[in-house]
């Protein structure tokens, strides 16, 4: 077992006085793809917020690459190579495609490199480089948000509900790209409400419910009955 790249130790997090995560433990090895599954309100998105640095945990430790980074700012984590694609569309609708890519240069990569890699993966975005991102189709917008992950070569990629509001065909296409990113050795944490779309890509799966990890194991070993149990709350 290699040293984990990302580790959550007994993380608690809350909004105001309402606690959402009641002590979550999780670890992701280098190059591993971990699927984070769970029903509505399980705390999946909160966990992504904690890992990405947007929400400070009330207790527990967040360890990236062996270093304790609990409480680090989201921007600092992003510069250190943690790429987060948030829920919804991870793009700036009132900026052009090219300006959206310019925003990815905070990672330290040159704009020309980012553009080249993006347009070679998604030729469609090349045609739209001066178009406002908000005017593109949902699939194209999600391509653009994935482009940041593709082009900046992150250490860890966090994906929150990539499939939201998209046609199944496009979702499948996007997950092929996720698989390609993972193949390059990037560790990925994917949040998905629809378990079946993601289990094909993931090595490990973690089931989150009521703010706690209920089950974790090899993705292939998580069966229908376990999922149903967690989703329906037995």
């Amino acid at each position: 077992m290699n040293q984990p790249i990302l580790e959550l130790q007994n993380i608690r997090a809350s909004y105001g006085s309402i606690e959402v995560l009641h002590g979550v433990n999780l670890s992701i090895g280098r190059g591993e793809v971990v699927a984070l599954l769970g029903p509505n309100g399980a705390g999946k998105s909160t966990m992504i917020k904690v890992v990405s640095g947007l929400l400070r945990p009330t207790s527990g430790q967040l360890i990236v690459g062996g270093r304790d980074v609990t409480g680090a700012a989201a921007s600092a984590l992003a510069r250190a190579g943690l790429c987060t694609i948030p829920e919804g569309r991870g793009i700036f609708p009132n900026l052009t495609v090219r300006e959206n890519l310019l925003m990815a240069t905070f990672s330290g990569h040159k704009l020309s490199d980012i553009e080249e890699r993006t347009y070679s993966r998604f030729p469609r975005l090349s045609e739209r480089r001066t178009q406002l991102a908000g005017t593109m189709s949902g699939g194209e917008q999600q391509m653009l948000s994935l482009a940041r992950a593709l082009a900046t070569n992150p250490v860890i990629l966090l994906l929150d509900e990539l499939s939201m509001g998209l046609a199944p065909l496009i979702v499948a296409e996007l997950y092929q790209q996720v698989a390609a990113i993972a193949a390059e050795g990037v560790s990925v944490l994917v949040v998905e409400q629809f378990a079946r779309t993601v289990l094909g890509v993931a090595d490990q799966a973690v089931l989150l419910a009521h703010g706690k990890v209920q089950v974790s194991g090899k993705a292939s070993e998580i069966g229908e009955d376990v999922l149903a149990g967690a989703y329906l709350g037995s």
Binding site: S75, G90, E99, F106, G233
Partner: protein, 757 residues
């Protein structure tokens, strides 16, 4: 033709200055969502600073320019962002706007303090004074050419910055999605800081250019911003090319008006109304038209949750409060000197004006910057209507002004937020410039407002008027409470909380807004109609309305008590200036200084104190401690151990500084508990042991000492205890339970619901 061209050049150069100001306004609005009313005041301060360096200390112009524009202005912008604006995230537009009003008041006070108006002040000369260049036979000063050059340069630099650099793109990105910017590795706080620094530089540049043309005067430099508002609104607060075009149009209109108004055929009055105030009103009229022509903003769906929240006032508390207020006023009115009576009277008048904002701004969330304008109209109506000030005259005045208020609201109904606030500001300026200076109204002098004539009661003394105003405030306050508790009140709250939800429930937003405006104007009219003395148009000037709005928000615009607190604070501020002349300058910047702390307590001060008292309910131990302390202080007085003044000061200190902090102290961790207790005990001992009658020689100074004591010890203790760690367990009472579910109960519930597989 030659003349026309000359005026075109003049107009365009004025427009160039407007453009520079407006672009700074747009930069901060787009990046932080804060419409900076103090933008013109920033330029004014920069112009004064430049004057100080260049003309008073004789620095070479390039050095003075560099220090002002590239060192001090950015520094000012950064400080403003870091310490004032950053705390405003998640507050409502009312609070945000009030904070910039506070900044505005602060800066004007500061300029008045450092550079008191002085006729022998060295002149502020133009750049390369006396040099002109002739183009097409027209002489243009180098200063104007430099102005053009600056505007063009600003346009090019801003364009490149916003679209070609990562910082500029990040500035626009923050507007779209703040947290996504962070996830990309951008730092929104730094971006905002940069935007504020840039904006301050632009304001400073415009201020210096304008001062060269118009000399160094606080007012024109500050009001420059109104012209810039108009330009920025034409550009819809985001489109820079449109903003520049708007600025040019404004400059040209002004220059052409100047040219044509000298002609013999130009009318000097229309239908008996003088139009001498017309020139100054042009930008305001353009602003009004631009606002009205603006496409309607879409109603935002979903719940907008603000940090400010107010409870519904109960009848028992409200009536008790009203009776207490009247009783206390009657009791102390006998002890006050004539001048103190007038000052307190002033405070109550301000409080009524502030009260007019409670239903409109506090309940319905509609911002108005014109409470005193309606008060002025009320004063005019009261003095012109027949009846010589009997109750019917008062009612007539209220109805007329309420009607005017509704009329004003009519075109403004489709606006909301900042646009609505600006349109009320435009209305206030228009009324000041065009109505208050007519011979039918003030005739630019004083008019006598008759004292309210109540049968068999003689109130023709300051004391009588003071009691009358306190009764009027209490009555109106109860009226406002009645509105809040009625169906209309719930509609007003709905209008603030979610216009979409209210509209889908079938509520007419238009009628509700009209009602809010009419009620507010009617209450404000009372403030003017009950003046009972000579009033001058300056008292109802637009700039006088701003401190009222500000202190109403500081006091807590959502509550009647907050309005009283704000009004009395504003009145008390002038006490400070008259009683202790050395503190006059501090009094100038005080309202502004108080206001910029709003980011911390958006609910207002009155609410905060009331909350602290409410939390003591049912805590019998603490309550008996409070009572025991009060009795103890009284006993010391009764036994002649301490003087009456010491009793008064320590009593108020006990109620306002010690009592509200008790619960926090009890809940604080042990070390802080001990420190805070000792700290407050020192405050009590100081308040009791000083021989106030002999040590301090005037009533005013004693009051100020009291305020300082409360500020020092009360707020200090609050800061000491507030860092207590918060418990972040899922609190069962949040979800309406007294204890958390056990696992067995959960299993049982699931079985009952049939969700177990």
């Amino acid at each position: 033709m030659q003349e026309f061209l000359t005026f075109t050049i003049i107009g365009l150069s004025t427009g160039a200055i407007y453009a520079v100001v407006a672009s700074g306004l747009v930069v901060t609005y787009t990046t932080s969502g804060i419409f900076n009313l103090a933008h013109g005041a920033t330029g004014m301060l920069a112009a004064f600073t430049y004057w100080q360096l260049r003309f008073d200390w004789n620095m070479p112009a390039p050095l003075a320019l560099f220090i002002t524009l590239f060192v001090l202005c950015p520094l000012f912008g950064v400080i403003t962002e870091r310490f004032v604006m950053r705390g405003l995230q998640g507050t409502s537009e009312v609070v945000r706007l009030s904070v910039t009003v506070a900044l505005f008041a602060f800066m004007i006070g500061l300029a008045n303090w450092i550079w008191p108006s002085d006729s022998s002040r060295k002149a502020f000369t133009k750049f390369f004074e006396g040099n002109t260049v002739s183009i097409l036979g027209i002489n243009i000063s180098w200063h104007k050419l430099i102005t053009f050059g600056c505007a063009i340069l600003v346009a090019i630099v801003l364009r490149l910055l916003l679209f070609r650099t990562r910082m500029g793109v990040a500035m626009r990105a923050v507007v779209d999605d703040r947290s996504l910017t962070e996830l990309n590795g951008g730092r929104p706080d730094r971006v905002a800081m940069f935007a504020w620094a840039l904006s301050a530089m632009l304001a400073g540049l415009a201020g210096i250019l304008l001062a060269g043309e118009q000399q160094l005067n606080i007012e024109p430099l500050v009001l420059l911003v109104i012209n810039a508002y108009a330009a920025a609104i034409i550009g819809r607060l985001k489109n820079l090319p449109m903003t520049f075009a708007g600025a040019a149009v404004l400059g040209l209109l002004d220059a052409y008006y100047l040219e044509f108004s000298d002609k013999s055929w130009f009318p000097h009055s229309i239908m008996g109304f003088g139009i001498s105030g017309m020139r100054a009103s042009i930008p305001t009229i353009v602003l009004f038209v631009a606002l009205l022509a603006r496409p309607q903003t879409r109603l935002r769906a979903g719940i907008v949750r603000f940090r400010e929240q107010n409870k519904v006032p109960s009848w028992s508390t409200s009536i008790m409060g009203a009776v207490a207020l009247i009783t206390i006023t009657i009791a102390i009115s006998g002890m006050l000197t004539r001048s103190n009576t007038l000052l307190l009277l002033n405070g109550f008048t301000f409080a009524i004006a502030a009260l007019s904002l409670v239903p409109l701004t506090g309940y319905a969330g509609q911002m108005s910057l014109a409470p005193l304008t309606f008060a002025g109209l009320g004063a005019i109506a009261m003095s012109k209507l027949p009846g010589n000030g009997n109750l019917l005259t008062l009612i007539g005045a209220i109805l007329i002004v309420a009607f005017v208020g509704a009329l004003v609201a009519l075109p403004a109904l489709r606006l909301s937020g900042i646009y609505l606030a600006l349109s009320t500001a435009a209305f206030a300026v228009l009324v000041t410039k065009l109505v208050f200076n007519q011979k039918q109204t003030f005739m630019s002098g004083n008019i006598a407002v008759p004292i309210l004539d109540i049968p068999f009661v003689d109130i023709n003394t300051p004391r009588g008027r003071l009691i009358l105003t306190s009764i009027a405030f209490s009555t109106l306050g109860l009226g406002v409470v009645a509105i809040r508790r009625s169906r209309l009140g719930r509609r007003l709250i709905a209008l603030k909380d979610s216009p979409v939800a209210a509209a889908t429930l079938g509520m007419s937003l238009t009628r509700t807004k009209l009602a809010a405006f009419a009620i507010s104007a009617g209450i404000a009219a009372c403030a003017g109609a009950l003046a009972g003395d000579k009033v001058s148009p300056q008292q109802f000037d637009f700039t006088q309305s701003l401190p009222i709005v500000l202190l109403a928000v500081v006091g807590g615009v959502g509550t009647v008590g907050g309005a009283l607190f704000g009004g009395l604070m504003l009145g008390g501020n002038s006490v400070l200036a008259t009683v202790v002349p050395t503190l006059k300058n501090v009094a100038k910047i005080l309202p502004g200084t108080i206001g910029v702390t709003l980011g911390r307590n958006p609910n207002g001060a009155a609410t905060q104190i009331a909350e602290a008292y409410r939390s003591l309910m049912n805590k019998w131990g603490l309550l008996s401690f409070v009572t025991a302390g009060g009795i103890g202080i009284w006993a010391l007085d009764a036994q002649y151990v301490i003087s009456h003044w010491a009793f008064f000061i320590s009593g108020i200190f006990w109620l306002l500084a010690v009592t509200p902090n008790l619960l926090a102290i009890v809940n604080a961790p042990p070390v802080r508990r001990i420190i805070a207790s000792i700290y407050l005990a020192i405050g009590v001992i100081v308040a009791i042991s000083i021989d106030w009658d002999n040590a301090v020689d005037s009533t005013g100074k004693r009051l100020i000492a009291l305020i300082l004591l409360i500020a020092l010890f009360g707020v200090g203790a609050q800061r000491l205890t507030e860092h207590a760690p918060r418990v972040h367990r899922a609190s069962p009472d949040v979800i309406g339970l007294t204890t958390a579910f056990t696992d067995e109960e959960l299993d049982h519930a699931e079985r009952e619901l049939g969700v177990v597989l």
